[in-house]
């Protein structure tokens, strides 16, 4: 953004409304990071629009001093598309929850991703319905007991990252509420990306699903359960950084790194530009004590955005048709005169 403008602070993006999330909710941390990123990137509040659906997370726009719309359940990506297509000059963000994006809103999400509309979709995944007080969501694990599944659920969850990749997203990442630096870094890169950015953010709902991601945030467990992907680097993890991912017959396995630090020949080296690799590493989705969970940028490629394609479409049409006045348009091809 233009550097002639006054540099703003995160607080300048904070609205006068006091956040109404439960004390301790993971949403606070994300709000903070988003405000920080906007300030760091030099946006002015009036250049930014936040759309959200319905859910706890979707109250987000009220707390921003930008333009915003708290829409209806599941439709934010579609609503944002309409704005972005007509107003490519604005920075557009979609805030959504796991129910909002993946239950009622699944279709709009995958279509926005496929079309590569240049906006940042932040999915606050707390694996539960917060606002309606604790029903299971499409990301709740199988057999989870919730208000609407007192005997445990009967359905396996979506893997949102995998779904986003398959739908055609050009930027796909995962981060977590507690890792504020990582989160901020991912958000910044998501916003840098020209095209749709899909960021899944694990977010603790301390009221209805407390500790859902404790395996990944607990400082003791974290080194063993998480892999922070880095482009061009081998996937190494472990408390002593003595483990890595290797590829065996097309699957990922965990291998130990020899004491001399030499990496196995078949070590998995992450490549953000490879859809194949992104899909492969996204399949790591098992229980945290068995399968490490990857965080970071899975995939990032540049393709023309939807708005850009629409612009080109207009250029093609204009090239073919030349300047046509409204009067000529009304005339059409066949007219006659009555005298």
């Amino acid at each position: 953004m233009a550097d002639t403008k006054i540099a703003l602070k995160p607080a300048d993006f904070q609205s006068s409304q006091e956040p109404r999330w439960c004390p301790g909710c993971g949403d606070y941390a994300i709000l903070k990071q988003v405000q920080t990123v906007l300030a760091e990137k030099g946006y002015q509040p009036h250049e930014v629009v936040f759309f959200s659906g319905i859910g706890c997370s979707s109250r987000f726009p009220y707390y921003m001093n930008t333009y915003g719309m708290h829409t209806i359940h599941g439709r934010a990506p579609a609503i944002a598309t309409g704005l972005k297509v007509m107003r490519p000059d604005l920075s557009v963000w979609v805030i959504t929850g796991d129910g909002d994006a993946l239950a009622i809103g699944g279709n709009h999400l995958i279509h926005a991703l496929r079309r590569n509309v240049d906006m940042n979709i932040l999915l606050f995944n707390n694996e539960i319905y917060g606002l309606t007080k604790g029903q299971y969501s499409p990301t709740s694990e199988l057999y989870k007991v919730t208000k609407s599944s007192p005997w445990g659920t009967a359905e396996s969850p979506f893997n949102p990252v995998l779904l986003a990749l398959s739908a055609g997203a050009t930027f796909v990442a995962r981060t977590i509420d507690r890792e504020v630096k990582h989160q901020r870094d991912i958000l910044k890169q998501a916003d840098d990306h020209k095209g749709v950015s899909f960021v899944e953010i694990y977010q603790n709902c301390n009221v209805f699903n407390d500790g859902a991601f404790a395996d990944f945030t607990d400082k003791k467990k974290q080194p063993e359960t998480t892999i922070f992907l880095k482009h061009g680097e081998p996937a190494i993890f472990g408390t002593n950084r003595d483990k890595c991912l290797v590829v065996e017959n097309g699957k990922l396995k965990v291998a130990h790194i020899k004491p001399d630090g030499e990496l196995p020949e078949n070590v998995y080296v992450h490549d953000e530009t490879s859809l194949e690799k992104a899909l492969l590493v996204a399949t790591l989705f098992g229980p945290a004590d068995q399968v490490p969970r990857p965080f970071g940028i899975f995939y990032r490629v540049t393709k023309p955005t939807y708005e850009e394609q629409l612009r080109q479409q207009r250029e093609r049409a204009k090239r073919k048709m030349g300047e046509v006045s409204l009067q000529d348009l009304l005339y059409g091809s066949e007219t006659w005169q009555v005298k």
């Binding site: 629009v49 708290h70 309409g82 709009h108 207009r314 046509v324 006659w336 005169q337």
Partner: protein
């Protein structure tokens, strides 16, 4: 010898693949060019390409032209073209006694007769021959003969049979072939062999007329005295598309059109997509919910945001329309009604979405409802919809229907310069902005759009405090807002024309009241009745919510009120509920237009 008539109706009927639409459009256009007023009604099957010879595969195109103002495509036809037995079976009942029947006798073979359910060949039926002037001609053979030197395949040759009957019909009406030839040349410019064949066959048909030894009267129809000006023919859907583009220019606002294909609204999308070079954006959404949703987003961003759909799509938009009401954003939904409920009969006309448009949202969610009356009226009503939406900052539903959408009429092309412009109710950026600050008179909230410095705000589906737009659960505020949203729509009545009696007497015994595509038939019947000395008036309501301020006054000037609708009485119910008026009803829910005869009969009964 020629007979002179005030108006004449021709129907081309054949298999879906027989090119009846093309023949019909060609003939209609030529009729208009000759100086006639016209009304057309294409009537095609739901199937894309039904098997040849089947009853459900019959495709028809009816055109009426003449001297008088032509208001309907005609109850009955004077000339019927039946390319095969199925076409005859499905349409013969429309032919007037003494009317001309043109049939391809080659197509009346055993298989086709069986498919049409005929036990014997109707063309050989003596009663038929007595009742009508039957021109049973071996058209297929004649066409093949005419094209014996053409390099085309037999199949391709046979596909020119439509030109043969077109030529013959041209001869019957003493028309000049030149214009038809021009149109054909344009169409087949890139296929010289096909062009050649079509022209040859067209002439063959025409000259058959000249040389025919059976007696067929040439029919003469006096030309209409249409107002001076430059004309084109236009369908309702074409008019809607052009109206939207025009509205964008008149208001100076960018236009966002988004739609999900659905019969009979799709053609609006096709046209809008074509008009990409007019600096508008037209996109195909993943479904109707996405369409209305993205329209809401575009409206938030300062665009004229329009979607077009038909019944099922309108139903799907219910929830998002509620959001548009709550956020008070100017989105426009064009509902091209078709026969329902559910999927219903997607290629047949009906007017049964009115109450859905009025009430089809949870909570108190009022919006503006308009309806256009003729194909060309869609142009003006589309502009009106945009004008009202962008000045009153409120969603609008514009009702059209399949009959208007596909029907065509001659349209005097307006001079763009003379169309009235208006200023959208955009925030001018003076002073502090609050999203629910309103214009005192209209109660329209000020429309500030992203990018405007200092006017940042958040709207949404939760109830908001008046003026500030903060989320509010305050009881009195809620009631206030509910009433404000209602009152805002009510006040639109100050900004729309008063209700007129469209035709006939200003007061008297009977008001015939309609909305939408029944305009033509009601007007025609009222004209006849008035001519016959009855004191009848035609009241056509284009503003359905709010009603024109004087509507009740106008209606109560008549002793009786007859509400005419292609539904079970939806406007009738609204008038009862709103004005406690004890109206009579004429309802037809058959997926076919109301005829002049049946409406006139009903009216006469009430006039007794």
């Amino acid at each position: 010898m020629g007979e002179e008539r005030p108006s004449v109706t021709v129907r081309f009927a054949g298999d879906s693949g027989d090119g009846m639409q093309l023949a019909g459009i060609n003939f209609s256009f030529e009729s208009a060019l000759e100086g006639h007023d016209i009304a057309t009604f294409p009537d095609y099957p739901a199937e894309i390409r039904a098997p040849r010879g089947t009853l459900y595969g019959v495709s028809g195109f009816q055109v009426r032209f003449g001297k008088e103002e032509i208001l309907t495509s005609g109850d009955e036809v004077d000339v019927l073209v039946a390319m095969n037995p199925a076409a005859l079976k499905r349409t013969l009942h429309l032919l007037k006694e003494g009317g001309i029947l043109i049939a391809d006798s080659d197509a009346f073979d055993a298989k086709n007769l069986r498919l049409a359910g005929y036990e014997f060949n109707p063309l050989e039926d003596e009663i038929l021959k007595q009742k009508y002037r039957v021109l049973s001609l071996p058209i297929t053979s004649l066409v093949r003969e005419a094209l014996k030197d053409s390099p085309l395949s037999v199949k391709a040759k046979d596909r020119t049979r439509n030109m043969f009957v077109l030529g013959l019909v041209f001869w019957i009406f003493g028309r000049d072939l030149n214009i038809a030839k021009e149109l054909i040349k344009k169409k087949f410019a890139n296929k010289p062999d096909v062009l050649d064949a079509n022209l040859k066959v067209l002439e063959a048909g025409y000259y058959l007329g000249e040389t025919m030894d059976i007696e067929v009267p040439k029919i003469k129809v006096a030309k209409a005295s249409l107002p001076r000006g430059r004309y084109r023919t236009i369908t309702g859907n074409q008019a809607t598309a052009l109206g939207l583009v025009t509205a964008s220019k008149l208001s100076g606002l960018p236009l966002y059109f988004v739609s999900y294909p659905i019969t009979p609204a799709s053609d609006i999308l096709h046209d809008m997509a074509k008009y990409r070079y007019m600096d508008i954006v037209a996109i195909q959404a993943e479904d109707e919910i996405a369409a209305i949703s993205s329209a809401i987003g575009a409206a938030f961003g300062g665009s004229i945001a329009v979607t077009a759909t038909s019944g099922p799509g309108l139903s799907l938009m219910s929830e998002a329309l509620g959001l548009a009401v709550m956020t008070e954003l100017p989105v426009i939904v064009i509902d091209v009604q078709r026969a329902g409920p559910s999927t219903g009969m997607p290629t047949k006309p009906e007017q049964a979405d009115l109450l859905q448009a009025m009430f089809g949202r949870h909570g108190e969610a009022p919006l503006i409802v308009l309806a256009s009356a003729t194909p060309a009226d869609n142009f003006y009503m589309a502009i009106e919809a945009v004008r009202l939406a962008t000045t009153h900052i409120t969603p609008v539903i514009l009702l059209s229907d399949l009959y208007l959408a596909n029907g065509a009429e001659p349209w005097i092309i307006p001079n763009v310069e003379t169309l009235p412009k208006w200023e959208p109710h955009l925030w001018k950026g003076n002073g502090e902005y609050k999203p629910y600050m309103r214009d005192e008179e209209t109660l329209a909230r000020w429309w500030a759009i992203p990018g405007m410095e200092g006017a940042q705000h958040v709207v949404g589906g939760l109830e908001k405090e008046d003026v500030t737009g903060n989320v509010s659960y305050d009881p009195l505020n809620h009631e206030k807002m509910v009433k404000l949203r209602l009152e805002k729509v009510k006040r639109v009545a100050e900004d729309i024309p008063l209700q007129e009696v469209n035709t006939g007497k200003e007061e008297g015994d009977l008001a015939i009241v309609g909305w939408g595509s029944t305009y033509g038939v009601i007007r025609s019947v009222v004209k006849q009745l008035v001519e016959e000395g009855y004191s009848v008036g035609h009241v056509h309501i284009k503003y359905l919510n709010p009603f024109p301020k004087n509507l009740k006054d106008v209606l109560t000037r008549f002793k009786k009120i007859l509400v005419v609708e292609m539904n079970m009485g939806q406007l009738a119910f609204l008038l009862r509920g709103t004005f406690l008026l004890d109206v009579h009803q004429f309802n037809k829910v058959q997926g076919v237009p109301i005829t002049e005869r049946e409406l006139k009969q009903t009216a006469l009964k009430l006039l007794k």
